[in-house]
Subunit: 461 residues, 2 copies
């Protein structure tokens, strides 16, 4: 947290020094102002924002993180001051307004909605209809629409007038009278043609515009924008009518959120609503406990498997030593494979059509890595069993080979399962990231014990 200006800010607030506050909030870049205001409580933050021009206020507010935005607005509504904050809420870009309202409690939303201008209210209600995680839920509807008969000068004039209302002036969409998307004119094209002011924009507009649908998955949309290096991508309906756009900064937010979500899933944590420190401990415990419970049940099966082989452990004293070694080697190689394939699928490098290449590759990998571990494992197992406890004897070179043979088989089993399961999940239409590392490891744990005991029974009898 940046606390550099905090004492001064608090002094100005205490002194109710309108002029100084105005100066502070207008002098720096909005992102910086927001940074310096991080330490203020909601009431103090609102006192500062009140001093800003409406336009500047909404910019600074936009740089606060979601919980802070919600806290400020919630507090004002709760203290009966919904009126004074409704202007700010109305000025927010439509997508941010929807996110904010989703973070307030229902009574506050119901108090605020009627205070919004009719058009903004309709917009908000419509956007709130798109489920979380879809293109519709992250798009904004404030987009510059141009008609195709305009010249470069006319287009620049039009954009210049509307610049404050729209989310970006860099991509401007050309639509017909029914709002159907005809093409795209970038600010780059307009500026490049600045010296040819009378050229009609339909001569320079790009007609082959890549679009997405409102119900498309936001992760797929982000990949598309990233692949094409776009600044924004338009969202259209079935009749190619322009609903809104998703801009590069929203795409970056989506990519970061998805990276966090995938990382948590990989470790067996259900997605969090807030961040790690911000989540309530009980909701965090639920996110973790859910998966931990599933994995615990899987681990109980290993106990059941071991129970049926209990006699073997009783008779062959050294078998028990290598249980963790066997299951962790299988689990680790399986996690590696699963993660590599999941990332390949996410980055678009691997598709379902590559299944045979993946399986072949994982088989080779399992044999190579398994053979390497088996070699070290053979030597280590031999050494570890040279000093048997009283009343026991050391295993023979042949008997102890059960350990490396098991390692080889378990690692191959791990790489094959780890490589195949994400593809199976993808094929079933599920998120392959659900095939989390502990889940793969849980499966391999059971397989590992069965392989270990089967090999041991075969080799030692």
């Amino acid at each position: 947290m940046n606390t550099l200006y905090l004492p001064e800010l608090r002094e100005m607030i205490a002194a109710d020094d309108e002029a100084e506050l105005r100066e502070f909030v207008n002098a720096l870049m909005p992102a910086r102002v927001a940074e310096f205001m991080e330490g203020l409580d909601p009431a103090e933050a609102w006192r500062v924002l009140r001093s800003a021009d409406p336009e500047r206020r909404v910019e600074v507010f936009g740089f606060f993180d979601a919980p802070k935005q919600a806290a400020i607005v919630q507090r004002l509504v709760d203290s009966g001051d919904a009126d004074s904050v409704s202007g700010l809420v109305a000025d927010l870009p439509a997508d941010d307004r929807v996110d904010l309202l989703n973070d307030l409690d229902e009574p506050a939303v119901e108090e605020l909605l009627p205070l919004l201008p009719q058009e903004d209210r309709r917009e908000t209600l419509r956007l709130r209809g798109f489920p979380e995680g879809t293109a519709g839920s992250v798009m904004t509807t404030e987009v510059a629409r141009l008609r195709e008969h305009l010249t470069v000068t006319e287009a620049l004039t039009e954009i210049s007038k509307r610049a404050q209302e729209v989310e970006t002036v860099y991509y401007n969409y050309v639509v017909d009278e029914e709002n159907r998307l005809l093409g795209l004119v970038s600010a780059r094209q307009l500026v490049t043609h600045y010296l040819r002011p009378d050229q009609p924009i339909n001569e320079l507009m790009q007609r082959d515009v890549v679009t997405v649908r409102a119900m498309d998955d936001q992760e797929a949309v982000a990949e598309k924008v990233a692949d094409y290096d776009f600044l924004a991508i338009p969202v259209v309906d079935d009749d190619r009518r322009l609903l809104g756009i998703i801009t590069h900064d929203d795409i970056i937010d989506v990519l970061r959120a998805e990276a966090t979500e995938d990382a948590l899933l990989a470790a067996g944590v259900a997605p969090l609503q807030a961040g790690y420190l911000r989540s309530h401990w009980f909701s965090l415990a639920c996110s973790r406990g859910l998966w931990l419970g599933v994995l615990f049940v899987a681990a109980l099966l290993t106990a059941l498997a071991l129970l049926s082989y209990e006699e073997g452990f009783d008779r062959v004293w050294w078998l028990v030593l290598f249980i963790p070694l066997v299951i962790s080697s299988g689990g680790n190689s399986g996690s590696q494979s699963a993660t590599l394939v999941i990332r390949g699928l996410t980055d678009g490098e691997v598709t379902l059509d590559d299944w045979w290449r993946v399986i072949r590759r994982e088989l080779v990998m399992g044999l190579t890595l398994g053979a390497a571990l088996a070699t070290v494992g053979y030597a280590s197992a031999w050494l570890l069993t040279r000093n048997p406890p009283s009343g026991e004897v050391s295993p023979t070179a042949f008997q102890i080979a059960a350990v490396p043979l098991t390692l080889l088989l378990v690692v191959v089993c791990g790489t094959l399962c780890g490589g195949a399961l994400p593809l199976v999940f993808q094929r079933l239409g599920l998120d392959p990231a659900l095939m989390s590392n502990p889940f793969v490891a849980g499966i391999i744990d059971i397989a590992g014990i069965v392989i270990y005991m089967t090999v041991a029974v075969a080799m030692i009898g």
Copy 2:
């Protein structure tokens, strides 16, 4: 791979139909052209590119992935045709040119460099000096520089003339005669002031420009751009001289690459140079084998620990059943904690100053989750040991309580280690992502066995 146009393309190439090829390569968006050309081999791809105008050629080429770009250029240089491809290489944005040269073999680079115009050659050599992963290595030097005395019209005219050479026209940097950064004028500002053409740009330029240094870590730069919603960020030297800029598309690439790298590290795979399917199997085996070997050595320590308790397993038949359950519960809860803290650090939500909050939170989490697992564990362990093998007796209710007590302690140990280790790594100046899940699990495995046996000895004797 998009194979829609592949047959037609191959036909045109076979017929050497220059006019048709020109038409194909110029009619669609460059990204689409590149997509349709995915299936072509390097020689065929070059045949198509040759038909395009130089400007269009470099755009389409820019949308090929790195290995394909390298294959095309390498093939031409190898076949003695370095001359004809040097123009394309010179036309590439400086950052992409450097990436391309890094993917060629050294003789090809030495053949190409002298063929570049002097200025491009110098640029390339300088950029190649910045280590991989720094801001300098991803920046481009083709940036629009403006002088502060220009008016809006003059600035627009200047940008309009130079638009083809620069990477972006959306952010234009104002510099003094010694190339020191004075401010930023966005195309948005220029377009907004289009109706006031005589206003000097130094009245509208933003002076408080956020910059980065060439040696800054690219991940930190990406976070900065993401936090501020920038389209680009300038890279400056110690005297605030403008070296180049990093644009939003490069930032998106950095974020995606870092997400993949972190995911792989979390599963114990050293970063790959190419993707999963593109990497040579041997380099993939090395990336995986390295960590797998380290973890194997850690797992060997569990065998050593078990060896010293071997007598206990011999005397108490049911202890062996719960080894995998104990170590996997500790490992899973540790991975969850480590991943949550690592993601918090990456996203900037958690800082080193939060160490006490993290420890407290993980302690509560460990006690809660551990108690839940212990309850289920107690019941399961009781049930599993009701039918003892011949000659053995079932444990008493007190004896079997060793299992839930161990589970509680192991889970608390897992959450505390998992939460603390990434902070320790960060404190030591290491990447906390190195604290991979299998590494945490490996530590907990050993701790788990020691705890299990200590509790068992204390309770059963």
